[in-house]
Symmetry: C2
Subunit: 688 residues, 2 copies
């Protein structure tokens, strides 16, 4: 699954692009490369339609409009949360699938927001002027202030309709304002059963050949009616051919292709082993928890998918970060840039020594990394309930400040999204909460040590299990009304609250804040300055020839439908329905649901199912449409192959592949397996 | 805990020793260094007594004789398994402690073997002659043959009484024959409750200040009577003083101080992240399993301690292997040795290019590492039951070969130990077995992939949970009589067996064997030749000035009782009983047992409890006596501080500390808390 990984924070700079490489911004497409390799040049209308027909799910996925009446195509795993939230004792939509009987019965996803890109504006000069000469805390504050004022200006009075984000491309080498139309009324149209969507489960995740119908259909609403959207991708029920030129338009989350060598070494030496350690342990806990009962299995399922997916991503980084060739190439390229800077006094003055600055920042990061991750980033206090408490406590104090001085998540422009999140009616499972919290408290003590001040503050003389149980039993934060009341009550309500989760979050806030401040002022600020200086030096030397590292904003990639060679064996680009039935066993995760078993005689087993292409994608691209030269939807990205995990650091056309559901499979399954003719018709007609 | 880590395989060579550094073989003590630093030179009688009074527990710990009547002092955590095995529904000796009411009631530990070192003989020339000019498979076979014949010669007809091991020191630079007197009738005399022995649990493990009474007393028997032993360490009830010279005599398991840089990089890039990943996940499973019921908690306890201890060791390696100074120093030293070799044609001929040879071996290792670890080293098929099946299947085929052609674990000289292990009456917990097996099968599929031949062979069309349940339910191997019958029945019995575990082990054996053979012939053999050549070149250049890397054989280390400076704060070398009561909470793992709560008013709270010293120890040293210049026992090693985890790769006198129980604490606790006057008397008198 290529949804955004749970922990991802990557500085960003443009590299030079080869072959089908590149996650290109819509306002700077590689027209020359595309023409040379594929004899295709998109016209203005093509670009405009693809831009507006693409969308982003705020929780970390991509999507596209596939009918004029607001029909949205994305992955099943991007709708996991909604499917869980709408389930009740009688219906397990996540497991068994969902189909609205009629448009009027489409149910609203409680916490889903969809953003449609409207405009991109360059604000590089304005931001850089505001930051000029600032360091550390002053830099952090100036950055908050300028970003807040630009975003506010952009969203205007209507922050419910517009979302405005400042995006640093090339790690500050270029700064852009992304303005999105926000849709908060998103309803569920159709999702297949989980066993079809995620056939092969964790074992097959990031692998190919693959047989997954990882799709879900949503619809955006305006004023209680299906929204009329300005652009959509006509759905092509035939699917692509081998060798065909295809595009993906989506929101790759983050890449580290132009991150300095020292940052990669930090990842290798600290981040990656630590995250694998923490996630693996939690995965073990949840594995056993899920075996305890069917209810536990269901409660934990969504969390397990997220954790196992992230684990696979981090595991994939281990060999890549040990690749001496990659590291040597990076060292050489940095040495050359350094030499170029040092060759002239004027350049030395302009760019300084960004490597020394980066090293200083990393020394601080090394020191505070574990407490920061455990206390501020939440690994040491897991679960929804403490997460709510923490955000409520922080929102209360942030909202007392002028907008320009707040942390970016609490800018006025972002508050509607926060309020929606706090008001989510998604169920909270007390046993799962207690288990997660107790285990993470055990890890907190293990990582920071018994004598750490925060650990003592949380545990006192009690055991993690007791503390977790008391907190979960005592809190009222499972109730969205309680959360919204506290949110609206502001600082006074928070200060007066006796809710044990709020009390704990309040007590921990000074330590968490201090860590955040150190991370912002002493790590993030100088790191950004360092990598920005490197990016600018590269621009000055070579021009802005390439694409920026991924930033969970819309990018286009081009490529072709093509298999690869795995240790001497050719992997063909397509699978088909026949292969699904061959691979099926009677056991999870290779078990077929009743509709699939029943449909077999009626299905065209030669229908293409999943396919691979050379498109350059990464986590966040989940749900991206695969688009042909006519601008039609011919597939649906849901994963990459195992080699795509190296894509965080470099793109290798010989083995890196995107994995998509074929549009032909979508159509055939809708008609024959799920007997959902109305949805099939809407796709083919392009409207209701 | 410094018992031998679960997964440890380290090439070995001597480094040059500084300060209190060194794990010295008893036949080559650093007399000059000791005299210079501490004005002490042990005489022959001292060395002889310390040698003979020291012992090794075959399962991975050290120990010492502390009375003429075979009384043995070691750690509680070294007796874990025995305490578990002797427990029944009425008695939980592991948790509540054990005290034999009289000598006649001391109970036998079902699977314990104690080895007392008798003699060390140099066999370097004989072994090296037998290996001369051999490569790959021929080398492996020649090595098996020569080692078998020397060991057989040494143990003679009486392999029940003598154990003979060929030990490669300096990674083959020197080869020695270690002859041990074996004691298989080892009985339990006394152990405190687990909460006292492991106060602070995993959070405090490898930390100091510490308050653990991690002790256990055993007794070796001969012909059903307490054995009269030839040497013992008189017990000093007063304990050591700060600054005092102290020795430890024990069996450090393995170190990697002179391992080539490429091996360290392999550890950093492959072994360490992989082992942390696997162990952390299992730790998570067991954490949740243990919460499910008191019975589950008890069943899993011993396994949890082992896994968490190993995890801490591997976690400790992450920052050490990321230490650029360490790696740079190693690179420099290797470059110098390489230059020395290449400076003369004759040397080039003698030593060849051991680095190239090592690199080739590592390339093979990289390729087979994961299948080897999962299928042959057992990580993919966890649990006692499959372990028994595997060893039975292998023993059957190995025993058909002449002794000299067998894998070393199946030499005639080793068979009595194997038989004892198979006959162990230790309880096996079916639910824990099923859980471990099901989870490890999930990991097996995850690591090797759904389409791997071995994975398909094990799982067929079933899920890991079903397979595990059927295997555990169907097998009769939980019964020691069944195991022994299969062992004695040999190849015919194994071939005829319908026991599902045996059937599975039989099916997997060809793959596991093939991996083992590749690892032996293409990795171990050339690696040993490479590191042996490096060691010989070093000897030729510098002489054999230093100590060899640890090999789980007896070593002496010297040092002094001394605290250290932790980030500017002095850590004093001693704790006392008062500190224990201050640190106690009501909650596990900081909970005091009833005897300790009751004894508080009668205890001298100023009694020293645990102390640290500069002695150079590592995993395997658990249970080592701390000895003063008079040859008296003044303490009992049970751990190292957090900095000692770097000791795998280098010794740093400024922070690396051994952690021991003070002999004064042992005496005071025996008398006042446990009211075991007879054991206290035996310790003070030196006989029953």
């Amino acid at each position: 699954m290529v949804a955004v990984a749970v922990l991802a924070c990557a500085p960003v700079m443009g590299g030079s692009a080869h072959a089908d490489e590149g996650m290109w911004t819509m306002d700077a497409l590689p027209l020359k490369q595309m023409a040379e390799r594929y004899h295709f040049t998109p016209d203005k209308a093509w670009v405009e339609r693809v831009t507006k027909a693409s969308a982003r799910l705020a929780l970390g996925c991509s999507a596209s409009f596939v009918s004029a009446d607001g029909l949205v195509m994305t992955n099943h795993h991007c709708a996991n949360e909604c499917l869980q939230q709408l389930s009740d004792k009688e219906h397990n939509y996540f497991q068994d699938g969902y189909a609205a009987k009629a448009v009027a019965e489409e149910q609203r996803c409680p916490a889903m927001e969809l953003n449609q890109l409207d405009t991109i504006t360059d604000v590089t000069e304005r931001v850089q002027n505001a930051l000029k000469g600032k360091q550390g805390e002053a830099y952090t504050k100036a950055r908050q202030a300028i970003e807040s004022s630009i975003e506010k200006e952009c969203a205007g009075a209507d922050a419910k309709t517009w979302r405005c984000d400042i995006i640093s491309l090339y790690h500050g080498g270029r700064v852009a304002l992304y303005k999105y139309r926000r849709y908060q009324d998103v309803r569920l149209v159709m999702a297949p059963d989980q066993s079809a969507a995620f056939f092969g489960g964790d074992p097959d995740n990031f692998n190919f050949p693959r047989y997954d119908l990882d799709m879900a259909f949503l619809r955006v609403y305006e004023n209680g009616k299906p929204a009329k959207v300005s652009a959509y991708l006509p759905f092509d029920g035939a699917g692509p051919k081998a060798g065909q030129l295809v595009f993906t338009s989506g929101n790759p989350g983050s890449t580290e292709r132009e991150v300095p060598l020292a940052e990669l070494e930090f990842s290798r030496n600290v981040t990656v082993p630590f995250v694998i350690d923490m996630y693996s342990a939690l995965d073990g806990v949840l594995w056993q928890y899920s075996r305890e009962s069917a209810a536990h299995h269901q409660e934990a399922q969504e969390l397990v998918f997220g954790i196992e997916n992230s684990l696979k991503v981090y595991r994939g980084r281990v060999p890549v970060l040990a690749d001496t060739k990659l590291l040597a190439a990076k060292a050489k390229s940095e040495a050359e840039l350094r030499a170029w800077i040092n060759a002239e006094e004027e350049r030395k003055k302009t760019y300084g020594d960004p490597w020394a600055k980066n090293a200083q920042a990393l020394a601080v990061k090394q020191r505070i990394f574990k407490p920061y991750v455990m206390l501020e980033a939440g690994m040491g206090l897991r679960g929804e309930l403490f997460g709510y408490a923490k955000v409520l406590v922080r929102a209360a104090s942030e909202q007392q400040k002028p907008d320009a001085e707040r942390l970016s998540a609490f800018h006025d422009a972002r508050l509607p999204a926060l309020e929606a999140e706090l008001g989510s009616t998604a169920p909270i499972y007390p046993e799962l909460e207690t288990t997660q919290l107790a285990f993470s408290l055990t890890q907190l003590r293990q990582i920071l040590g018994t004598d750490d001040a925060a650990v003592k503050l949380v545990l006192g003389k009690a055991a993690p299990d007791e503390v977790a149980e008391q907190l979960v039993k005592g809190t009222k934060l499972a109730d969205p009304k309680v959360r919204l009341a506290l949110f609206k009550g502001g600082a006074q309500a928070i200060a007066a609250s006796q809710d044990p989760m709020i009390v704990l979050a309040r007590k921990l806030e000074p330590q968490a804040r201090a860590l955040r401040k150190q991370m912002d002022d002493q790590v993030a600020a100088p790191t950004r300055q360092a990598t920005e200086a490197m990016a600018k030096a590269r621009f000055a030397r070579n021009g802005m020839a390439s694409y920026p590292d991924a930033t969970f904003t819309q990018r286009l990639s081009f490529g072709q439908v093509k298999g690869w060679n795995e240790n001497g064996a050719e992997v063909p680009p397509f699978t088909n329905f026949a292969g699904l039935y061959e691979r099926a066993t009677g056991s999870d995760p290779f078990k077929l649901s009743q509709p699939w078993l029943a449909a077999k005689p009626r299905l065209n087993l030669k229908t293409p199912f999943d396919f691979v292409s050379t498109n350059d994608i990464i986590g966040g691209n989940s749900g991206s449409p695969v688009i042909d030269a006519q601008g039609h939807a011919v597939g649906l990205i849901f994963d990459g192959n195992i080699h795509s995990l190296g894509g965080d650091f470099y793109y290798d056309e010989s083995t890196n592949r995107a994995v998509a559901v074929d549009s032909a499979a979508i159509l055939e399954a809708l008609k024959v397996v799920y007997k959902n003719q109305s949805l099939a018709d809407e796709l083919l007609k392009g409207h209701l």
